[in-house]
């Protein structure tokens, strides 16, 4: 019985996650831990490029949040839209450009 529930819960959680706005510290953790899988924990690059503020400064918030949401076709950058709201993607773009969430 327990196992059945364990299987059901994530299916319910994911759409909820996509719609809601996450607390800022959770988003920052996501950037460093999960974006960090490719871009490095300190965001200075790995298999993916350096995404520290000085390296992404040619983007504006809107374009950068679109990159986060839709990925870059033909590269390893995946679309994050299935996992996050547009509001959160905008916050992440702000964080990447400014080094903090305002």
């Amino acid at each position: 019985m327990l196992r059945k529930w364990a299987l059901v819960i994530p299916l319910v959680l994911i759409p909820a996650f996509a719609a809601a706005t996450e607390p800022d510290d959770k988003l920052i953790n996501l950037v460093h831990q999960d974006c960090g899988s490719c871009h490095g924990l300190t965001l200075k690059g790995g298999l993916g490029p350096d995404i520290r503020p000085e390296s992404v400064s040619h983007y504006d918030v809107e374009t950068l949040s679109e990159v986060v949401l839709d990925g870059i076709p033909g590269t390893a950058m995946p679309p994050w839209r299935p996992l996050m709201s547009e509001a959160d993607a905008k916050k992440i773009a702000e964080y990447l450009l400014q080094g903090e969430i305002k």
């Binding site: 364990a6 999960d34 960090g36 490719c38 924990l41 994050w80």
Partner: protein
């Protein structure tokens, strides 16, 4: 006789070293604490941590290899740091910052050389294992991935941007580098089989894998499972799979698919597909219990709280459980009776019995990622 033996042993210890100062290393291991730049020294038999070694820099995605005597660990940090740790003294004995951005390393079969794979600037650098002095720099125009040791004092690695595999032979007076083209588009990781014969590269830019037979004088790329995902919708890959810790189960290999929630089964002789098993998410590690009877699989974000266990005879999932948030790595005890699992966001390393699946212990750790037991010292490719 027994009494005599014990007396003799006691007498010998008294004249050489004190028994209480000896720390044997055969059942020890190191856990990478990625965010704090530290290592946790652990004891497999006690299922406990012994001490923490600090000051290793940025350890996100860090890995390490062991000297043949299982005394030293060479730790490859993301910041380009190469750190030599003495496990018996529980301290850092050497450290060089050898590049700006590194991704793993290897130790030569004779234990004399340590190689580091770099993203920025791309290439492989080779160091003397005793002194950490650089003995060879092999620059590439590309990020390098899949660096492994191969028998005959060789290192093998692959270029992410260029789709080439290079074999560096350091057995002679001067190095010999063999370059093999047409490996495929965007190779993301590679493995070498335990016998040192096959080097298998996973591809991100196209479906399939590429194998090289290192027993050939001039290895030719062998395509494996080309277009395995054809006709199926590709799913976003939020974390690249790892091929290190690949599974060989009897005559078959088990490998994570990319962009599909599956593991792939390949015949170890013919390299033909023998099956697929649908999994809970995008597999990151598919690791074989040392006897080959089970394969344990963890998954990419956001499904990274779960592990599935596959029976290699039936290829069916026989167990599924949720150790906790962000399961990053698994390491089996050398004979496979237990498995250690790092659960990053719970700050725990958990130990499970691989037959009953019972949890045997939990060890506190700071954002644990890779777990490396000293038994790796005696295995090619690890």
């Amino acid at each position: 006789m027994k009494w005599f033996g014990m007396t003799l042993a006691a007498a010998m210890m008294a004249t050489t070293v004190h028994a209480e100062t000896i720390r044997t290393t055969g059942d020890l291991g190191l856990v990478v604490e990625r965010a704090t730049g530290s290592l946790l020294l652990v004891d497999q038999s006690e299922r406990a941590s012994i001490s923490r070694i600090e000051g290793l820099g940025d350890l996100s995605h860090a890995s390490l290899v062991y000297s043949p005597d299982q005394r030293f660990a060479f730790v490859f940090g993301r910041d380009g740091g190469l750190t030599k740790v003495d496990i018996t003294e529980q301290k850092i004995v050497g450290r060089v910052l050898q590049s700006g951005n590194a991704i793993g390393g290897a130790i030569s079969d004779d234990g004399s050389l340590v190689a580091v794979s770099n993203y920025d600037p791309g290439g492989v650098r080779i160091f003397d294992a005793d002194t950490l002095e650089m003995v060879l720099d092999i620059p590439t125009e590309s990020k390098t991935i899949g660096l492994v040791d191969a028998p005959g004092k060789r290192f093998v690695f692959t270029l992410w941007d260029d789709g080439e595999t290079w074999i560096a032979d350091l057995s002679g007076e001067t190095e010999k580098i063999t370059k093999i083209k047409d490996i495929g588009e965007n190779p993301y990781d590679a493995l070498i089989t335990g016998d040192g014969r096959l080097y298998i590269t996973g591809l991100f830019g196209e479906d399939g894998l590429t194998a090289l037979d290192l027993w050939d004088e001039t290895p030719e790329p062998i395509r494996v499972l080309p277009e395995y995902g054809r006709g199926q919708k590709e799913m976003p890959v939020y974390k690249m799979p790892h091929l290190e810790g690949w599974a060989r189960a009897g005559r078959e290999f088990v490998l994570p698919a990319v962009g599909h929630h599956q593991v792939l089964w390949i015949d170890g002789e013919t390299l033909e597909e023998t099956g697929r098993t649908d999994t809970y998410g995008q597999p990151v590690f598919a690791m074989s219990r040392p006897d080959g009877r089970q394969v344990w699989v963890n998954f990419a974000h956001p499904l990274n709280d779960t592990i599935q266990v596959i029976d290699t005879v039936s290829k069916e999932i026989v167990h599924e459980f949720k150790p906790g948030p962000a399961v990053l790595h698994m390491e089996f005890t050398p004979r496979g009776h237990e498995v250690w699992i790092s659960v990053r966001d719970a700050g725990k390393v958990q130990v499970y019995d691989t037959r009953t699946f019972e949890k045997l212990a939990e060890i506190d750790a700071e954002s644990p990622s890779g777990i490396f037991f000293t038994s790796r010292a005696h295995r090619t490719g690890l």
